[in-house]
Symmetry: C2
Subunit: 347 residues, 2 copies
């Protein structure tokens, strides 16, 4: 067991503050990682504040983890001391169900294990995330990270990156496709980068004119102001795909109307209230609305390798650990371009 | 112009009664068909009663038309006098947009023309449907009908048949797929027959135990009582596809929960109120909900040919024209197995 400095939420309303946790002793298949950077995901706030009703306190959030390997178990084959490594949203799964065997651990039937605010497969050990100095995880859920990229900007790829990469790959988005990206935040800015990289014609859909410059800088070919009625009309039946990254309440039907025949609206954001969708809005033009959850371990590795090859990282603002509470407040106002990343050297 | 006996709705509330309409003179590309049978679709009732708010009176409903060719224009190549022929939900479209060129006239961008309660491409001539003795239609929207099948049972294939055949084909449903069919009516009973014929393992989903015998007779391999909590639980993550034929209000989330990873719920029924769907119900297991509208002309012909080859027809109850108002009342109570078909000899 090793004492590890961390930052934790002690309940749903108090600011996060110092915490000390125990990481398990290195098992034969385990990798010990000194955490260098950890991205701050919107779901950290949801869980810290118990907005999903399943919070376990004290909670150490963080599932966009990158760092350097400081120890490996006797049976570890993929990593050695000194390697860069990453941990994303999952640290274990049943390994036996058809989904796990297919590398779709995020859809594990036996119950995958979240990197924090979850119980290990033993049903009792609480998992603690990346707002901490080190983590011990089975090598099967540790990702290789290239030395070529800016490490602090790699961290958000472990959640924001794979959450957008995976559906774009699953639905085969490529050259010739017209893709709309709804929402320019942590997920949205990665969706733009990936969709552009895959060859699609990408339109940023936003109700704020101030986003246009940045959207174009990120690679979007077009910018559409969704507060403009004429713009909405002009986009009727236009897109093959819309990636909807918005977690705030919004009218899905406005965007369904922009889908061409066979078009798919892919939701990776989850607003608090159900979508209200008249069946006719799907029936006309044979449209679909779908969801997608992060990505499996093999695909996360594929994404990291793709990013290293194509020099894709997240746009980040690095903060000290002590500034996390203020960062949460700024995220609530959408005031971050586009992901906060904690420098764990400050802890 | 030829005088044609028909039955019409004169307003949203009065019973249908005798009407006389004019069919246009035979143009060079036109086919004149003596209507022998016409199926009664639920959308006939919606439109007769102006439930979609777009009704034009007097209205002659009916878009499941079969009969015999009694005349052809000088440039007609596909039909000759004496042939059996069918007309479905559409009698024209713009013929120029990408959808029309792909044979997806139902998604025509220029505006397809419904067989009744619509305006021709001239923007003024009202279309009248199959509750009449004859129809004149361009050969491009007339279907060939095999002499091998029971003609009265072929009529409903023109709408109920293609509406279920098309999505099953579009989503590639075949051997190895687990398919749920929700609702055992005009559409549902055809969905069961086609899905079974395509090799899928088919489960009828119904809240009424009285449907089991018939579901199995139609070919369903399993019957699941959706009023039973245990049954619902046992079907969690079970289906690859669910064909939802229900137009009455229902909770989509019960059935979304039965979809396996990548599962698709395909809506061909349109309840009056919007579906309420929490994004998480799509995000977990990467599920989709989609819609599908009838089918294009080439696919409708393909479906009719498939039915002739595999001896598939609709289960029908033949009625006299004068009994249409009573038939509507019985349909409202679900009291028909599974499609009323009007024998136009009775008009």
């Amino acid at each position: 067991m090793s004492h590890t400095k961390a930052y934790a939420a002690y309940d749903a309303t108090s600011p996060l503050r110092d915490f000390e946790l125990q990481r398990r002793e290195l098992g034969p298949k385990d990798v010990q990682i000194e955490i260098l950077y950890c991205g701050v995901c919107h779901s950290d706030i949801h869980q810290v504040r118990n907005e999903w009703g399943n919070s376990i306190y004290p909670m150490v959030p963080g599932h966009e983890i990158v760092g350097r390997v400081t120890g490996v178990g006797s049976d570890v084959t993929k990593f050695k001391e000194g390697d860069l490594a990453g941990v994303g949203c999952l640290v274990d799964s049943c390994r036996e169900c058809p989904k796990c065997k297919e590398g779709l651990e995020q859809y594990c039937e036996g119950g995958s294990v979240g990197t924090y605010n979850a119980l290990e497969r033993d049903g009792k050990t609480v998992t603690y995330g990346g707002y901490s100095k080190q983590i011990v995880t089975t090598e099967d859920f540790v990702l290789k990270v290239s030395e070529k990229l800016d490490l602090q900007a790699v961290a958000p790829l472990l959640c924001a990156g794979i959450t957008t990469y995976s559906p774009l790959r699953h639905w085969g988005i490529t050259k010739g496709h017209k893709v709309g990206v709804l929402g320019l935040g942590g997920l949205g800015h990665m969706a733009v980068k990936f969709a552009v990289s895959f060859g699609a014609e990408v339109t940023m859909l936003s109700h704020s004119p101030s986003k246009e410059t940045d959207a174009r800088r990120l690679g979007a070919h077009r910018f559409a102001l969704t507060s403009n009625e004429e713009t909405i009309k002009s986009l009727a039946n236009h897109f093959d795909f819309i990636i909807d990254t918005v977690s705030a309440p919004h009218d899905y039907n406005v965007y369904l109307g922009m889908l061409n025949t066979n078009g798919v609206m892919i939701c990776v954001g989850a607003p608090p209230a159900p979508a209200q969708i008249p069946a006719f809005n799907l029936i006309f033009q044979r449209r679909s609305i779908a969801g997608s959850l992060i990505g499996g371990i093999p695909e996360t590795q594929e994404m990291l390798d793709y990013c290293a090859e194509h020099n894709i990282v997240s746009d980040v603002e690095v903060i000290a650990m002590k500034d996390i509470n203020e960062a949460y407040e700024r995220m609530m106002k959408g005031d971050v371009k586009y992901r906060f990343v904690i420098d764990l050297a400050t802890l």
